[in-house]
C-alpha cells in the first residue's frame, strides 16, 4: 500500500481495522500481498465495460453472432475471450423498440464481472436494489432517462448464478459505422439497462 507521508492524516477506524486484518492474514500465510495487488489491478485496469462493449458492437454488426449471443451467451462471449468469475453462466437480453430490459440483484450485487468489471457503487446501493423491481421507470429517471410511451420494461433479478447483460438497441446507422466506433458508443449503463 502506498501512503503519502508528506501529508499525514489520521487513519479512520475502518482503515486501521482493514490494515490490521491484511497484515494478520499475510503473517499467517493465508494470503500473499502480491496476490492482493494483482486482484486489484485486474479489476481496476484489465476487466471492465470495454469488454461488454466489444460483445454488443459485434452483435450490432454481425447477425450470426447476435443470434449465437441470444441463444448461448456464455459461449458467444467466451469466443471473444471473456470468461470466468461471476460470468460463468451468461444470459443476454435484447432491447427492441417495444421492450426495454433492466438488470438488478435485489439480494446483493450479482453482476457480470467478465464483461462489465466490478459493479458501480449505485448498483450495490439500497436505493437501486429496492426500486428496480417495482419502479424501473423511476430508476431510469434517476439516471436522466425516459423511455417512449408504450415501451414495456422487463426487470431481471439475478437471484442465482446466471448473470445478465442487456443488448441495447443498435444505432440506425450501425452498418455504416466501424466496429471500433460502435464499441465507443456502448455504455456500461445501457448494458445494465438504466440507460438506453
Amino acid at each position: 500500500m502506498t501512503q503519502d507521508h508528506s501529508h499525514p492524516q489520521p487513519l479512520s477506524d475502518i482503515e486501521i481495522r482493514v490494515k490490521a486484518l491484511e497484515s494478520l492474514l499475510i503473517e499467517k500465510g493465508y494470503v500473499d500481498p502480491q496476490t492482493l495487488d494483482a486482484l486489484i489491478d485486474t479489476y481496476e485496469n484489465k476487466i471492465g465495460p470495454k469488454n461488454g462493449a466489444k460483445v454488443v458492437a459485434k452483435a450490432w454488426k454481425d447477425p450470426a453472432y447476435k443470434a449465437w449471443l441470444l441463444d448461448d451467451a456464455t459461449a458467444a462471449i467466451a469466443s471473444l475471450g471473456f470468461t470466468g468469475r461471476q460470468g460463468e453462466h451468461m444470459v443476454v437480453v435484447e432491447n427492441t423498440p417495444a421492450v426495454h430490459n433492466l438488470v438488478v440483484c435485489t439480494l446483493c450485487s450479482c453482476y457480470p464481472w467478465p464483461v462489465l468489471g466490478i459493479p458501480p457503487v449505485w448498483y450495490k446501493s439500497p436505493a437501486f436494489r429496492a426500486k428496480a423491481v417495482i419502479d424501473p421507470k423511476g430508476v431510469m429517471a434517476d439516471f436522466g432517462h425516459r423511455l417512449p410511451e408504450g415501451v414495456a420494461i422487463r426487470v431481471w433479478d439475478s437471484t442465482a448464478e446466471l448473470r445478465y447483460l442487456v443488448l441495447p438497441l443498435a444505432p440506425h446507422d450501425a452498418n455504416a459505422l466501424s466496429i471500433e466506433h460502435l464499441e465507443g458508443m456502448v455504455t456500461r449503463d445501457a448494458m445494465i439497462g438504466v440507460a438506453v
Binding site: 475502518i14 494478520l24 493465508y30 476487466i47 461471476q86 446501493s125 423491481v133 436522466g144 446466471l162
Partner: protein, 221 residues
Amino acid sequence: MNTAHDMGGMQGFGAIEETASDSPLFHAEWEQRVLALTLAMGATGSWNIDQSRAARENMHPAVYLNSSYFEIWFSGLQKLMLERGLVTPQEIATGRAVVPPLPLQRKLLAVDVASALAKGSPTTRPTPSPARFKVGDSVRVKMINPIQHTRVPRYIRGHAGHISAVRGGHVFADANAQTLSAPAMEEAQWLYTVRFDANELWGADTTASEVYVDCWESYFE
C-alpha cells in the same frame, strides 16, 4: 432469512446517488483491500460463495442498512474466518498472529490470478431427476420464510408466474450455504427463470411490465 438484504420493493431510500458514469468504483483504498482480501480468502476453498453471502446477510438489519457495502463485506469476511478458527478475536483486534495458522486447501498466488479468474466456478451440475417444468408452465412460489439463507426473495413468495427458461441443473444455493466445510456435499436442482407479471407482484403500483427471477425447483408448490 427475512433480513435487510432482501430489498426488492422497499421504499423510502430516495433517489439513486452517484449515477454519473465516471463515478469512482471505490470510495477509498481500504475498500479495494477488502475486495482483494475477500477474493483471495474465497479462493482458498475455506467456504463457498453461498456461505459468504449468508455471512454478509446475517447482520442485524439496522446495522446492515447503516453499513457501507464494503463494511458489510469486511464484517462477513471476519465472521467466516472466525467461524472456521482461521483467526481468533484477539488476532483480529491486534492484527498480530497468536495461534498457528490452519492448513488451507489452496492458496491463490499472484501468478495464478488471471487464470483463476478466467476459469471461475461454474455451478452447473447433473441432476438426479428430469425437470418437473417446461417453458410456458404455470408455477406458484411457495410461501416460505426460512430462518436460513435463501435466494427466493420475499416479493415473489406466494405469487404465480410462468416458466420463461429452463437453465439446467445448478448447485442449490440454499443448501450450499448450510455446510461449514467446503466443498460441501453439493445438492443440484433444476434452475428456472420465472416470468412474473408485475401487477401480480405489486398490484397497480409499478412501472415494470414483467419481472424475471431465477428460481430453483424446490421453490415451487
